[in-house]
Assembly symmetry: C2
Homo-oligomer: 141 residues x 2
DNA sequence: TACTTGGCGTAGCCATTGCTATATTTCCCC
DNA sequence: GGGGAAATATAGCAATGGCTACGCCAAGTA
């Protein structure tokens, strides 16, 4: 099983390859706000666990296992960002919160959150009513 | 700032005192599924950080700071359990998921989840409609 | 082709939080 | 009041995942 930190790296690597075609140590480090030496160490662990194939100083590619996991992680992250946005969390808090919680939800919970999002998408009035509840609660205090 | 682990211990201690009047090392260990030696060590850290006052072999009491934090943590945990229950997560997954995510949500997010819960409480039809969406999505696959 | 330099890798440290093994204290029962 | 068991404390180890300091590689420039 992948640790939260391993998931963060895998997700970032998947996204970099998806968007730029490759994932370099320095890009990963910048994205995750860690030092390059930490990236090297983690890449070696992900290689050992067969999420990717790594050649020192040259580059890395994701294995099928790594691609599959990476995509799931990226989708999960996006879903959770949409969820927090929908319920009205301030933009500035969303990324950090999602980075934290994404590693701790069962796929059951993920599915239920997906359903909840679909519920709000199907009828925009619902989100409006949610915001009305919010305003009423705020007025009480 | 308290780490996730510190929060787990504080929450458990608060709850034990709330329910039984006292919190013993062995009860804390059982509740958190760790060994008693781990509890002793953490209690000493929480003492050092002024969340509680600890007398070796005798017992502990929460400081005002510890009580305030403990209550907030317990309320937050309960809120998140209610949230996952409401959106239809299976009972067996709820405790573990909440134990994980509770440490990673801003108070902004917590407030928005509170609002969402109130939204579903105010009109039980809404939860019914959510379950309808769920059934439709399930039928598609 | 040789030098330089920025990117990358390695070694070793630290904090955190768990564990086991062992020591100490307390409490209960005789 | 003393002995022994249960509870608790301490010491020391391990895994994880950061960091700094320093060494190495290779691409690009002169
Ligand atoms: Mn994350
Ligand atoms: Mn993420
Ligand atoms: Mn927890
Ligand atoms: Mn909790």
């Amino acid at each position: 099983m992948a640790t939260p930190s391993m998931e963060d790296y895998l997700e970032r690597i998947y996204k970099l390859i998806d968007e730029k075609g490759y994932a370099r140590v320095s890009d990963i480090a910048e994205g995750l706000e860690v030092h390059p030496s930490s990236v090297t160490k983690m890449i070696q662990k992900l290689d050992k666990d067969n999420y990717l194939i790594y050649e020192k100083y040259r580059g890395l590619i994701l294995t099928p296992k790594g691609k599959k996991m990476g995509k799931r992680l990226m989708d999960r992250h996006e879903l959770l960002e949409n969820f927090l946005t929908t319920i009205g969390v301030h933009e500035d808090n969303i990324y950090k919160d999602v980075e934290g919680i994404e590693h701790h939800l069962s796929w059951d919970s993920i599915t239920c959150i997906e359903t909840l999002l679909e519920y709000f998408r199907r009828d925009p009035n619902r989100a409006d009513e949610l915001m009305n509840v919010r305003k009423e609660l705020e007025a009480e205090n």
